[in-house]
Symmetry: C2
């Protein structure tokens, strides 16, 4: 298993990326190719004594977070994310992980790898914890704004294949994110998409209210990328606000005495926050791209980078793309403009 | 100040509504008219000894939560919410509070009171806590799916008037909920609405990312009702999931010892949950209706009912509707189909 890692992606690149890549190589037994400006990446690598030897692939250009991705991709042909995708296209690696600009990663992946037949728009999928043992996959969370009904159908099919192939869920329950559980509720988009979902070869369970996502009522939940992105970030903002209140209270003396008792509690709450915070849950696969590309949050630390590499390795080892390639075109979905 | 309360609205009606109304009459010094099946409401009232004498207005019919509102409003002319709205239309009361079906309340209000000139679509507004002293008003959170750009403009104007008139915020900062802060990001709807917002007589501060809502970056944040509803409910679901984890941990013996220490901490966290949970924050005004109508969550307990009556009383005493009537038509907004 060989994974190309965009050494320059993310707010704490290349330091956090290199540290996370070393951890992944050590813990997961995968081979890492660090892609970035050679001298700079080697310099950071050299500071990690006793680290496993990681290969470095030179890519002298960097796409910054504030650059409009389309223009950056045209101008910077040797940007780290572009070179990493190129390695995947040439089958020199099995997957790519980047914590850089999601739009740039999507653009580079579309240009370099293209879509799986039957997929009009690749989607960004996040895996959320629930109160049950089974997580919930929510997609799209930001790759596509202004979706059409058949896009949501394709998200459902891709999410269902992911849940089955990578997470081992038999007959994944697929729902559509909506403002009520009653039939007939929803926007023009969700009502039209529901008609398509009912007719598809899916275990469709109908509307899912946003507050029930965490109750484990469905394994795969589809929505427009605008809605998904807002929901995820609203949840993050709320969770962080609650955490700040708790932290503020613990700062006092009484709080300090508490820390001994609170350790197990804090640990569980922290894990919950981590799983909702996409710095932590391990990266979001770009489903529908003809190759495994995983995007980690821009503010990923070394642990988040390691986890995102794990997600990429799991998707590659479960042959996610082969599964999508063999199943998507046969599920009655034809690409529409 | 006289407020008509829909005694039959909500999951715990009429018991919780009557208890909340008694608390409001006692604490807030407002006069309450309980609207519902007379014998049944009087029966519940009689169980509260020493309660202030509340007037009861007979309304023998009840709209159930599962009924399609349009049909229910046609068939049940003497439903409690309809009769309550009628009292407001006749100026027998200053405001209406209901914890019944939001769609039924909106429908009854539209039929009985109509819209303020310059408003195409009334919106449901929620007041959210932030890390700063100032709350954030988010609208629409569910009254309108499939909004047009000029609807979002009108939501912004109404929210701005509410923040100024009821909350006393000078020159309220108005933002638009979006998937990124950068200019040019967003859906067709948000991009077109942004153009309108820039030109309006508003203190427009641009895009607000969902995770920043709780950071207090804007006083008024507008969005499509589908997006707002999903965001609010996603936040609620997450908050409840975190609370369940905390509760589970506290159930153990070690947890019980902790309770003594945790009281102040738990109190603050509980308040945070309460304010995000719309059973608790006190009801959402239907902005744009030609009369003060406040909707409380269906699962409101007595405290939530009392708080929602408080919100209705505040809006009425600050002459919210007069302010909206005088400002909306002159802000360059013309009703569009």
């Amino acid at each position: 298993m060989r994974i190309a890692v965009d050494a320059m992606g993310g707010d704490y690149a290349p330091e956090a990326v290199v540290a996370g890549a070393i951890a992944a190589a050590r813990d997961l037994g995968v081979e890492i190719l660090l892609v970035g400006p050679q001298a700079r990446v080697r310099d950071v690598l050299a500071r990690h004594r006793g680290a496993p030897p990681l290969e470095v692939v030179d890519a002298p250009e960097v796409i910054e977070m504030h650059e409009p991705p389309a223009m950056a991709l045209r101008r910077k042909k040797r940007a780290s994310v572009v070179v990493a995708i190129e390695l995947l296209r040439e089958r020199a690696v099995d997957a790519v992980m980047t914590a850089g600009h999601t739009g740039a990663a999507m653009g580079a992946a579309m240009l370099g790898l293209g879509r799986i037949p039957g997929v009009d728009r690749p989607a960004l999928a996040v895996v959320l914890p629930t109160k049950t043992e089974r997580p919930a996959i929510l997609l799209d969370v930001g790759a596509n704004v202004d979706c059409k009904p058949h896009h949501l159908l394709q998200f459902a099919l891709m999410g269902s294949v992911y849940a089955g192939a990578v997470q081992g869920v038999a007959s994944p329950r697929v729902g559509i994110l909506n403002i009520g559980v009653e039939e007939g509720k929803g926007s023009e988009l969700t009502l039209a998409a529901t008609d398509l979902l009912r007719q598809a070869a899916l275990n469709f369970v109908g509307n899912v209210e946003a507050r029930d996502v965490f109750n484990g009522v469905a394994d795969v939940i589809v929505c427009d990328g605008f809605v998904g992105n807002v929901a995820i970030k609203f949840g993050q903002g709320l969770a962080l606000a609650i955490r700040d209140i708790v932290k503020g209270e613990l700062a006092g003396l009484r709080g300090k005495l508490l820390l001994f008792y609170l350790t197990p509690l804090a640990g569980r709450v922290r894990r919950m926050y981590r799983r909702i915070d996409y710095r932590e849950y391990g990266g979001a696969p770009l489903l529908g791209i003809d190759g495994v590309v995983v995007v980690a949050h821009g503010s990923s630390n070394a642990r988040a980078i390691r986890n995102a590499i794990r997600v990429a390795a799991e998707a590659a080892s479960h042959r996610l793309v082969d599964q999508l390639r063999s199943r998507m075109p046969h599920l009655g979905v034809t690409a529409q403009p």
